[in-house]
């Protein structure tokens, strides 16, 4: 416990030195990085203690709410969620050393580091909160500090918009959660996060709590259709902040959902199905939207939606398991859910780091203007490739392990003799498969266009020409760490699942460890991934050997006999995705603009398609504008004429006096109920 405390403290203060030092000095950055690493070490030490010795609870101090305290509660589940917080937090701080140099980001640097530290501490507070008030404190602190971290570069209009959207979303979720916790308080009689007894809880009330929780946490987790804030925020923030947002902050929503659901007694199967369907929709639609993106970080942002969808599917399966008294569904679902939380944090941060490296070198994130970076930035390319394979759920990497568990659970719902209602839940498996292949398409597109082929710049001298090689070591190290963890979890799933099982223990009624192994043979899977990895390496070696042995000569790519091929004739990402975007046009509503060559001497032809944020641009913005216009009608009542103002007073007087008359009871009755 004390370790966790120190960790939070260190994280909070890590940004302070920068505020009091000169803006161009380097040492505050190094100090804050060191403090953040220290945070990670102490924090992880505390986490290990929790894993070994089990839950702890402690009262911090009486809270200003009457009859409530600030309490912290640390159980293995919380500890499990603390791991990415500390790990990604520290690696981000290291990445920051090379990525956000004081020389280039003189003004924004100190603020960024301040907010970054507070953000880490706030997320830790959320996870360790033992009561609603503390939770809400952490929640808002997280929202505000993340808002600060996103909009450090607020002189850019896009960044301001992104920050504002994030703030709006986070405030809506705050309000919903306040309502949720108030209902919880009414049901439980206190804000403490203890399981509710089914006796005290009216089913309508528990349903209300569930729905509010789903919305409130869903907004933060970027669940469609509440994801409108997500792409802009991820694209606008500095890359390591995007990594935190996508890798850790979204998971806070997942954590809250799990926590609250586990407090509610006897969730009905319908909840599980609802979450499952929601998850499937998110998984497929998220990656579908990602296909239409041209900006690497926006693309990654939509993939966060996809992965949240996968996590939700797993959660839904677990709920279904509780409702249907099927321990195997619960265990598999919960294990997949938690493991994927870790995995997504790892490979998504890895991807954001490499994307950040590319952007910092080439000054653009537009996929179609890049190319051939694999030769000049081999390490970055390798990191991105690993991340891509992992996020596509391909063996032998970690993403595959969690998705495999989820598939296992889903297939089991279709076992012989299961009622059709539950077996139908297995239809989520094809959806997951579809999401998987779409992801493959999407990342072949991204990886192939950015790192393979030739640079697409008109002239090599332009800024878009590949930069002078890989980024600074301080940026490569965190990538390396994350890549290694991805591989490790992929090759030794059994070890990771031991931790997961420990994390499930406080919320599960079945005894996880035995269960998991008796339903699926993780060890066999581990062996297989190991074999696969080895044979892949062998294959790669053979390829290299062939090169040394059999290469006759090197020529330009065969260009079908064109006179003067240019690297801009390569297939672009837009064209790669065009087929699928066309198939999904009913959903993505792409704006296509094309100019076909005509006549004997055609004018320059061009084609471009753009997929915008449907929920935001087609629904919310028009709605908001409409509301604004309607509200501005009211302003005619404040036209500056004193006589009118006095008339308002008179009218108010008369109307209120009317309530004295017999029929004045009506409004009172209305308001009393």
């Amino acid at each position: 416990m004390i370790f966790i405390w120190i960790a939070f403290l260190l994280a909070t203060v890590s940004g302070l030195p920068g505020l009091f030092a000169s803006r161009r000095a380097n040492w505050p950055q190094i100090v804050s990085c060191a403090l953040m690493c220290l945070t990670a070490l102490t924090g992880l030490a505390g986490v290990i203690f929790i894993f070994i010795f089990g839950s702890q609870q402690s009262v911090i101090c009486p809270s200003p709410i009457i009859g409530a305290n600030f309490t912290m509660k640390l159980d293995p589940l919380a500890a499990f969620f603390l791991v990415p917080v500390f790990l990604i937090g520290a690696s981000g701080a290291i990445y920051d050393l090379g990525y956000w140099r004081p020389a280039r980001h003189t003004r924004s640097g100190p603020w960024l580091r301040l907010f970054y530290g507070i953000l880490i501490a706030a997320m830790g507070l959320i996870v360790t909160a033992g009561d609603g008030i503390t939770f809400l404190f952490g929640w808002e602190l997280m929202g505000l500090s993340a808002f600060g971290a996103i909009s450090v570069e607020h002189q850019r209009w896009k960044v301001r918009q992104a920050g504002w959207l994030f703030l709006v979303a986070s405030h809506i979720s705050m309000m919903v959660l306040i309502a949720m916790f108030l209902l919880f308080h009414q049901a439980a009689g206190s804000f403490a996060l203890n399981p509710l007894s089914s006796a005290a809880l009216h089913p309508r009330l528990s349903t209300a709590i569930f729905v509010l929780a789903l919305i409130g946490f869903g907004i933060k987790a970027g669940v469609m259709p509440f994801h409108f804030w997500l792409p802009d925020a991820h694209a606008g923030a500095p890359s390591h902040v995007s990594a935190i947002l996508s890798g850790v902050l979204l998971k806070m929503g997942v954590y809250g959902l799990i926590r609250v659901l586990m407090l509610l007694p006897a969730p009905p199967a319908s909840w599980g199905v609802l979450i499952l369907i929601l998850g499937a929709i998110n998984a497929v639609f998220g990656v579908a939207f990602a296909l239409g993106q041209h900006e690497i970080k926006r693309l990654l942002a939509y993939h966060s939606i996809e992965n949240i969808g996968i996590i939700l599917m797993a959660l839904g399966l677990a709920i279904l398991g509780i409702a249907a008294k099927h321990p195997d569904w619960f265990i598999l679902g919960m294990a997949a859910c938690l493991l994927h939380v870790w995995n997504h944090a790892l490979f998504k941060s890895l991807l954001f780091y490499s994307a950040g490296a590319v952007i910092s070198k080439t000054h653009t994130g537009l996929i179609d203007r890049l190319g051939g970076l694999g030769k000049t930035m081999p390490y970055t390319a390798g990191a991105f490739l690993l991340g891509a394979l992992a996020i596509c759920g391909l063996p032998p990497l970690n993403g595959f392990i969690s998705e495999w568990l989820l598939y296992m659970g889903l297939f089991r719902t279709a076992g012989p003799g299961q009622p059709a209602f539950y077996a139908a839940a297995a239809l989520a498996a094809p959806a997951l498969g579809l999401a998987g292949t779409l992801a493959v398409a999407c990342f072949v597109k991204a990886y192939g266009t950015i790192f393979l082929g030739l640079p697409r710049a008109q002239d090599p001298e332009s800024r878009l020409a590949p930069g002078p090689g890989d980024p600074a070591r301080s940026m490569l190290i965190p990538m390396g760490i994350l890549a290694l963890t991805c591989v490790a979890i992929g090759l030794f799933p059994a070890a990771a699942l031991l931790v997961v099982a420990r994390a499930i223990s406080p919320i599960n009624h079945y005894g996880a460890i035995a269960a998991l192994n008796q339903y699926v043979s993780v060890s066999a899977l581990g062996v297989m991934t190991l074999v696969l990895a080895l044979s892949l390496v062998a294959g790669w070696l053979v390829g290299e050997w062939l090169k040394n042995r059999a290469v006759k000569r090197r020529v330009g790519t065969w260009d079908c006999g064109y006179a003067k091929p240019s690297s801009r004739m390569q297939y672009t990402a837009t064209s790669l995705a065009d087929g699928l975007v066309g198939l999904l046009g009913w959903l993505l509503r792409p704006h296509k603009s094309s100019q076909r060559p005509r006549g004997a001497f055609p004018a320059p032809a061009r084609f471009s398609s753009h997929v915008d944020e449907v929920v935001l641009d087609r629904v919310l913005v028009p709605l908001w504008v409409f509301a604004k216009n309607k509200l501005s009608v009211l302003k005619t009542f404040q036209q500056g004429s004193l006589q009118m103002y006095l008339l308002y007073i008179l009218l108010a007087l008369l109307i209120l006096l009317l309530t004295l008359s017999p029929w004045g009871e009506l409004p009172q009755w209305l308001l009393a109920h």
């Binding site: 302003k635 036209q639 500056g640 006095l646 008179l650």
Partner: protein
Amino acid sequence: MSTSILSALLVLVLLLNLFALGTSRIRSLIQIAALQGVLLGVMPLLLHGRLYLIGVLIAVGTILIKGMLIPKILINALRDARIKREVEPLIGLLPSMLLGAAGVAASMIIAALAPKAVGESSTLIIPVSFATLTTGFLLLTTRRKTLTLATGYLLLENGIFIFGLLLLQAMPFLVETGVLLDLFVGIFVIGIILQHINLTLDSLDTRRLSSLKD
């Protein structure tokens, strides 16, 4: 006997209200207000058969302030302001008179409905006070000149003062004089502001005073 005189005075006040609504000249409007002030000053004396200290003092104070000082301020403001002497109602004079009459009727009905406390001297007090109140509000909402607004406020206060007669004993000396004083200071400050308005905007027309809006 005193009760009947009181009632007579109250009726007089009622008539003055209608005049106030009907007159088209600011000066006469102010004078009407002043006259009302004087009448109001007399009433406390009549309220109970005999004289006693509070009554006399209040009477004198009222007559002094409501009847003389305040009208003086307003008249001065009117003299300094280089403006037309018409009241410029937002709605015609006749409609406002009709509205006033309606107000009187309504006050009568309301007063009739309202439960009375025993030992009330004149049954006219409540309706007349309500009617005066309504008149004040009418002047406030339907006149354009700042001065007429001030006068309307004065009538409003008069109405309240009349109601105050009902609980003369309840309102100790301090409160009563305080009320008067406040009224006086209020009008005084309003007068100052009026002068400033006059200096800066060179008019007392509220149309010039509606620049602040959303």
